[in-house]
């Protein structure tokens, strides 16, 4: 029996099993229901207003809704836009100082960049945190471990199963909301689809840490709370680094500076992943969601490719550590 085909076969069977587990736990339908709810919300959006005009790179992109634009304000060079956004099939309507396309992008930014990327990823981490500890219970796993399948492949299969499950839902979410927004507003911005890989990478990186905790402790509680704490730590490290570097904060000791720099490059970078998505939707044209990130970009210190690669490297290292721990654990 060749070891590579055995490992591939093991991973394939574990992925299939994880999908069945998710279907049985109703998690699949719960996540689908949330996507349906968001799709319904998107179908209820109406955006009217001026179309986007070609803009000179040096032009100040400052706009204001007509109702707020006094003659004095207009005299300052701030342009007036006839923008209106309506939510809930006309239930709530408000004026906006943005072009139609920018209004739609802002909604997409909130949907995928904030709601899905933060609330969605955290909920997915909480809901799937029990998969590994359940799988690793001695009475459940011993029969599996007595099969001629490598332990690392069993673990990797379970991990990939969960990640693929979340990827499928990210695809459903982004696809359904993109179509719904397109149908209701007429704006079909393909940049929105970048949310799928970014959501999956964000989840995959933190779920790797959850797997590591599950292997070490076999406890769902530790996996849930440990991962949430770790997520907060990574956000804080990411934000602190960008604040220090972006704003050239003075009075920081070399040791603190080095610690933050090392911490930033070693740990996952959720803020940077959001930043990549914000850039894709040209968020800086109509909002400044993360000032620290803008400061980093202004200094030419933001390297999205390196950031993604470093986050993925962290996930790979943590998974390897989990596989090592799993291999040497007695059952």
């Amino acid at each position: 029996m060749n070891s590579l085909p055995t490992a591939i076969r093991t991973v394939r069977w574990m992925v299939r099993d994880t999908f069945r587990q998710s279907l049985a736990s109703k998690l699949f339908w719960l996540m689908l229901a949330l996507t349906a709810l968001c799709t319904l919300f998107c179908l209820g959006i109406r955006v009217t207003g001026d179309d986007e005009k070609p803009r000179h790179p040096d032009q100040l992109p400052t706009y204001m809704p007509r109702s707020e634009a006094t003659p004095e304000v207009q005299a300052e060079g701030i342009r007036v836009v006839n923008g209106e956004v309506s939510l809930g099939f006309g239930l709530f309507t408000f004026e906006v100082g943005k072009h139609r396309t920018d209004s739609v992008r802002l909604i997409q930014l909130w949907l995928a960049g904030v709601l899905a990327d933060t609330v969605g990823v955290l909920l997915a981490l909480i809901w799937t945190a029990g998969f590994l500890p359940t799988f690793l219970e001695p009475q459940a796993v011993t029969v599996l471990l007595a099969k001629p399948a490598p332990r690392w492949a069993l673990l990797l299969g379970k991990y990939l199963g969960v990640v693929l499950f979340v990827a499928l839902h990210a695809l459903f979410f982004v696809g359904a909301t993109w179509v719904a927004i397109g149908m209701s507003t007429g704006v079909w911005d393909v940049a929105y689809w970048l949310a799928v890989p970014l959501l999956v990478i964000n989840f995959a990186v933190f779920f790797a840490f959850s797997v590591f905790l599950a292997v070490c402790t076999r406890s769902t509680v530790v996996a849930v709370f440990g991962t949430l704490l770790f997520w907060v730590l990574c956000w804080a490290m990411n934000l602190t680094h960008h604040h220090m570097v972006g704003y050239e904060v003075q009075g920081v000791t070399p040791l603190s500076s080095l610690s933050v720099e090392v911490g930033y490059w070693v740990l996952p970078k959720p803020l940077d992943l959001s930043g990549i998505f914000f850039d894709a939707l040209r968020a800086s044209d109509y909002s400044t969601p993360i000032p620290e990130l803008e400061a980093m970009k202004a200094r030419g210190q933001f390297h999205p490719e390196l950031s993604v690669l470093a986050s993925l490297a962290f996930a790979a290292a943590v998974l390897a550590a989990a596989a090592y721990e799993f291999r040497k654990t007695d059952y």
Binding site: L23, Q139, V143, L144, K147
Partner: protein, 253 residues
């Protein structure tokens, strides 16, 4: 003598405490044992004697602290030999979201049974253990006896050369017990090896050719049951095992 399993001076100490740096608890102390091929070999002993630990070492579920084990003629690091072993243990916790046929298909796939043979093998085994008419039902609805029978079916999936039964009759119904005896006899007739772990003497007496008695992590007897129970004076003798409370605590893994 051909042996399905050879244990040579096996020691196993479980470490407790934070990150495994606490006190060691000895579960096996210098166990040397041969399980001959083609026989039904009984491993007898009181609870917490180290029987299950010995099985776990044989299945690579745990690492021995010292000593060497040969499994079907190969060292333990050759995991492919696990593909020739069937394992049934007393407390299965199968995924409750699977049906009986899904479970056997899943385990059969992991055992390396080719896809084209798998459905037929699953059907055959479900019929064999009397669960053919419940094949599509989730395991969550099964009684303990049915789960045990399903456990036996999964152990037989790969037509094993060595079948390990760890306290197999725990929770097994009458039909299941009869089936188990029949399976063991058939495997023996086919030249396969069965390692039966039990603390019930009757069970071992009925099925086993040879047995080893394990007490507090040490083999105290190896041979036939007839020799064990034969009194040199011509009559029958009984085997009495007494464990000191402190020692019982020590071997508790």
């Amino acid at each position: 003598m051909n042996c399905a399993a050879v244990f040579d001076q096996i020691e196993k100490t479980y470490t407790t405490g934070l990150l495994g740096y606490g006190t060691g608890v000895a579960a096996l102390r210098g166990v040397t044992l041969n399980v001959p091929t083609g026989q039904v070999f009984g491993l007898l002993g009181p609870n917490r004697a180290g029987k299950t630990t010995l099985v776990k070492l044989l299945l690579s579920l745990a690492e021995p602290t010292a000593g060497t084990i040969t499994r079907l003629g190969e060292p333990l690091n050759q995991r492919r030999t696990l593909g020739r072993i069937g394992y049934m243990h007393e407390n299965h916790a199968f995924p409750r979201y699977l049906s009986a046929s899904e479970l056997l298909t899943f385990y059969g796939g992991l055992s390396g049974i080719a896809g084209e043979h798998l459905p037929g093998r699953v059907d055959h085994l479900l019929t064999r253990v009397g669960l053919a008419d419940r094949r599509s039902e989730p395991i969550a609805r099964f009684s303990k006896g049915m789960v045990q029978r399903l456990g036996l079916a999964q152990a037989l999936l790969n037509d094993p050369d060595l079948l390990i039964l760890d306290e197999p009759t725990e929770g097994l119904d009458l039909f299941g017990r009869q089936l188990l005896r029949q399976v063991v006899r058939e495997l023996k007739a086919a030249g396969k090896t069965v390692l039966l772990v039990s603390h019930v003497l009757n069970e071992v007496e009925e099925l086993c050719d040879t047995l080893a008695v394990l007490v507090a992590g040490t083999v105290v007897y190896t041979g036939s049951l007839a020799t064990l129970t034969r009194d040199p004076a011509g009559g029958k003798r009984s085997l009495e095992v007494a464990l000191k409370p402190l020692y019982q605590k020590e071997v508790a893994a």
